[in-house]
Symmetry: D2
Subunit: 410 residues, 4 copies
């Protein structure tokens, strides 16, 4: 057992931390200023500072680090996790600067693992170059999104084409006009075995019949800083049969494969967000005086800061251990831990953000600090991929079964 980072991780962390200080943090106000004057507010990646950051990141080797294997940086989940954390300190800028932003990362992984050569040529290459954006269209308005077998959008073979009909919502990134390709999850065979009914298929943005209906809001935010969350309508959307990823009925398995690393990334970035919040909270309470004493000397404030630190340290270790398990025993062996971090990350980070907001007074809820927007972001984590309660139920069921078999083995 060893809690130190390895050499490669340490070096990349240093490079990235330096990049954050010299490039990313200074770019934050610039980005918001440029965003406000874009002709299309959703086209966030056309803000000049985004391209500048990308060039700078790439020049330092901070590019596509999430992607394992030869085409990527060759990092393990455990090596990449602490870098994801750091990028989470500036969630709107650092991940895209490094071409490591969701949902592109997951989509790249899917194409990388399951795409045909032609699909790779057409879509994976520009994604790896950071030229275009992508979306992953799974969640639907009418069914519980916590269970991928529920999805209803139909994908019907018709000659050399597939025809799609149905609705999707909360499709992150899809309001950005440069989000040129959607990986759509739907049902190809409603009669098949429950986990073999689903398939994934590529649908270019400009395909006739695909309508981007509106952007969903999250606690008042439209999240145009990263392309929003679209509601989509598919009306007889027709794509060639070669657009299918993998095989018919392989959708569920590919979604599961996509999920594991994405969970690590999400959680580590949320931890980075929490670190930024603690930083802001400590700065604030050091400069603010109330009732004759600095906030930083008041007991309740200290209680918040201590709890924040202690909870976050524990959470980070659990996420890192999960990454290690994925590297050593695979997604299946890490199943319980992947559930566990989905359960504990959102609530822990939300607690910290709530206190950081409170320490800032009313300003903490406003556009003058990033805290309110961070709060909205982490609040959604308690619901994406299914509400926390679903995961708790499943984890407990497995724990009870595990204990039962231990008892019976005695």
């Amino acid at each position: 057992m060893d809690f130190g980072f390895d050499q490669r991780t340490e070096e990349l962390r240093e490079t990235l931390l330096d990049f954050m200080e010299t490039h990313v943090y200074p770019a934050e106000p610039v980005f918001h200023h440029q965003l406000a004057s874009l002709p299309d507010p959703w086209a966030w990646d056309s803000a000049p500072v985004v391209q500048e950051l990308r060039d700078a990141a790439r020049g330092r080797g901070l590019w596509n680090l999430f992607l394992p294997g030869e085409e990527g940086a060759g990092l393990t989940n455990l090596q990449y996790a602490p870098l994801a954390e750091i990028s989470g300190r500036s969630l709107h800028l650092a991940p895209p600067a490094m071409n490591c932003a969701a949902p592109d990362t997951g989509n790249i992984e899917v194409l990388h693992m399951f795409g045909t050569e032609a699909q790779k040529k057409e879509w994976l290459e520009p994604l790896l170059e950071g030229e275009i954006r992508s979306a992953f269209a799974m969640t639907e308005p009418d069914v519980a999104s916590s269970d991928a077998t529920n999805i209803q959008l139909s994908i019907v073979r018709d000659g050399d084409d597939y025809v799609l009909n149905g609705r999707k919502w909360w499709i992150t990134g899809a309001m950005n006009p440069n989000c040129q390709i959607f990986i759509v999850m739907g049902k190809t065979d409603p009669a098949a075995e429950r986990h073999r009914q689903q398939s994934m298929i590529l649908v270019p943005r400009d395909t006739p019949g695909l309508e981007v209906v509106r952007g969903m809001h999250v606690l008042g935010y439209d999240d145009h800083e990263h392309g929003g969350h679209a509601e989509l309508r598919f009306s007889d959307v027709r794509v060639p049969a070669s657009s299918l990823i993998g095989e018919e009925g392989g959708g569920f398995a590919m979604a599961q494969a996509r999920l594991g690393p994405g969970r690590i990334h999400h959680c580590m970035r949320a931890i980075g967000t929490a670190e930024r919040a603690i930083e802001l909270m400590c700065a604030r309470v050091d400069e603010r005086v109330a009732f004759g004493r600095q906030l930083s000397e008041q007991g309740v404030i200290r209680d918040w800061i201590a709890e924040s630190r202690v909870r976050l340290e524990q959470l980070r270790l659990l996420v890192l251990k999960t990454a290690w398990l994925m590297d050593t025993v695979g997604n299946k062996g890490a199943h319980t831990e992947i559930q566990a971090i989905k359960i504990s990350t959102p609530s822990t980070v939300q607690w910290i953000l709530d206190k950081a907001v409170q320490a800032h007074g009313a300003g903490g809820l406003s556009q003058d600090f990033p805290l309110a927007s961070m709060f909205a972001g982490v609040r959604t984590l308690r619901l994406v991929d299914g509400p926390d309660e679903v995961h708790k139920n499943a984890l407990a069921k497995a724990e009870i079964a595990r204990q039962r078999s231990t008892r019976e083995a005695r």
Copy 2:
């Protein structure tokens, strides 16, 4: 001791509940639709449905009910409180329909109690008629707003005028162009005794030197539905000396007088909001199935609903008792309870809203349900009039002192 409402309250409750069903709830989607097409998005009271509701409310005697005494409806705080609760079920429409919306209510009370005849003629009358809106400008960006003695905006006598210089923010309603009059709290005499330095003065919206800088956001919302929260800059703003309300140095005392009833209104409306959330939550869990069973039959959901009901019942009783104390022993005698409801209302209602959102899945955070906006609204209650922590500290200090003198008297 008697926990039943009196006859007059029961009758008004019935009238109001009926008005909500027949007029207010049906008007909600209409209002949001009309709002979206207004030339000035801040001018919410120019939406036709608002005027229709006002006429209907007035026709039923549901007008200016908050105002005690002969000019108003003559209700006690205890009689008005349950009506305020009901109006909180549709926070953007019911209070303005009844001409009972903050901050107009507090401003009307101030003018009613302390205004000169000329001031009443010019401002109180159109406010009581619901023709104009008003704002109360107290909070400042650079000092802790939890202590009214901190305010810095200077009000200097210059011949027959007063000249104002300083900044304000979070001035609710002030983005609405029909918000024609501001009651501004500032310092007339920095050398006076601490609670005699402040004065209140009337400043018409169009006074030269008064700049409406921007609207503050709350968790992504600009709250244009009720006129937003403005940042204001006062640069040599000059008003005639007759604009002073009451006497020089009387500002703090008037602010205290304004505070008590306002606290009751806020808390009762928040309870109404929570009731609406419980209603929505119960409806949702009844219609939604997950993992083979209705949500309404799942233990965790039931735990939320039971806790919501039990917490809310207790809270309501405390607020009603506070209203009764204000009626029977006055604001001073009700001091501890006024603090107590400021402490417990926001956290209780926020807890309920959080669960209601969670029971709705991702939709609960979106524009498709009122819950997210309600959450943002109640979250601010933990900070307005000073963060909860300030009030807890003060209440505990008094409790400790009270216990000390009881011990010493033994």
Copy 3:
């Protein structure tokens, strides 16, 4: 609506408060000293100070106040509730001094309402005189006690007798040799309708076949101060048929009737316990210095005290309202509220006791302060009459149904 106590209640409160100061608190150390030297540690009511207190209480008219109607003091639930609260400040002494201690109170009510003249003569009279003690034997080790229809002890008619067989546990008071009579709940007709299978029957302590097996402990306490909690075994226990209370099959209904007022008493006494804890906590933090400042000036401590006060005020109002409902619309009309106070009292009071202990340091857990024993007592309240979770489930189910019918009526 009126939150003031009536004249009679105010007078009794004053008499009782004075009695507490002059008699009960001074008797506490005496009682514990006398207890330690009793030949039988369970025979708490043979401690001389107990008899002295009883005489003093009776002399002041503080006797059998819980009993409604002519035989008792004629108080309503709402009038008695605040007196029960005060008695809870010294839980081991004040209630028995006033002949208002559980479980005698409930047993007296049952005999009073349903007993025959002979039963009243033999058992009710000495109980009303405080000469003997009684127990209520309902809970059983092998079934969930939250549902009275689960009970298994069999009561079989045999000629002029009934014969009892079965086990009971957690029978409070029954370790005291002066606990001379048990009201035993059992099954007379397993074939009857579910709520008509149970009956109550009187069993004198010395009946052959009735074995007092042992005393149950609660977190290390055997609670000999009020007669412990016995495990009982009934082996062919034979009593004359005239021992039946009410009619065969009437047990469930009588248990329900017994429950309502008992719930009010329990909750109000727990509130009194919490008030005592707040008192001790305030005294402690005023005298203790740590890290250079009095505990009473430290923010976290103040937060505990403020939360304690605010939570307790709300809880008390809910219990009082429940008492009022029982007086005005009966037990059935107060059903939801009776559940609600069962849910919120234990957790609220436990929270307060936990903080009071913590403020006392390690001493707070020891025999040097009453807090640890109070904590153990209130912890059991989360389980007696069924765990809180059962009541939450039931209350939520009713709330969901209520909301459903409101929706459908629209």
Copy 4:
């Protein structure tokens, strides 16, 4: 970074797990039975089963594993920690069986590091053989025990002797007559620099003037199973000067050295206790039916189990990381983490125990399950070595300072 145990740890874990199954768990009822019939209830280590377990443990090499270096097992903190956890599953038997029970472990470390040859010969050897027990006398009734510089007991040089006067309480193990030696912390030089006033000195149990006044209770338990918690009075207690451990003024530093590993042991054992509680809870809910469904299928119960698992996993990782830090950068480098585990262990484990009790119904609070006693034990952890609040305050102060210097370095 590597989250796997090393080879040696894995082997010892297996040996210990097997020893628990074959020897310790079966011995639990035997121990309680033997305890009840001991002539002196405090002399727990004279129960025959204790000696049998010791022989069995020693025969398997499970002896003095906590002691680093050659005299001990040569394990690092990180290697010993998971063994301490396992021993915590049977807290009264496994640690003493392995001669790894507090406070002997800490006392052995002190003598091992700082004792003279004569002291080692006289006291360390029999302690390492498990022939006698020891106590560590630091906490005092009149001062806050969270700060070792507060202690008042005086140690005055008088010729060739030292003379001790003062009081101690909560001296764990000291009620056991076989607890033959006390390490007493007192003040030798009140005029010295604050951290150089204290010394440690050896006082044999039978020294004249040393009075064992009474045993302190914890939530009703006297903890005779491990020698209780004594109050001690020192009245002119005279010991030879050679009884001093280390040098005069070295007490504080030695106490700090003793603290670090002890904290790890305490926390890991508490984690083992929590694992036992989860085991019991899972077994219980699997066998119990309420309202027609197994408890293990009810949502609220599952929520408890999931939260228990997730919180405990995080906590364990933090404690293990702390052990690793102590091994790699020393106690000082691990300072923040040592505080952090003191903050999070008691509250986390108490939460789990509370739920395990609740899942057991009233029985969970009784002597029929170990849960209530475990609860009492862990509740004290929130107070020993100073209340959690003190550690939170200190940790936050350091965090704020660390953030401040990071900001200033930018």
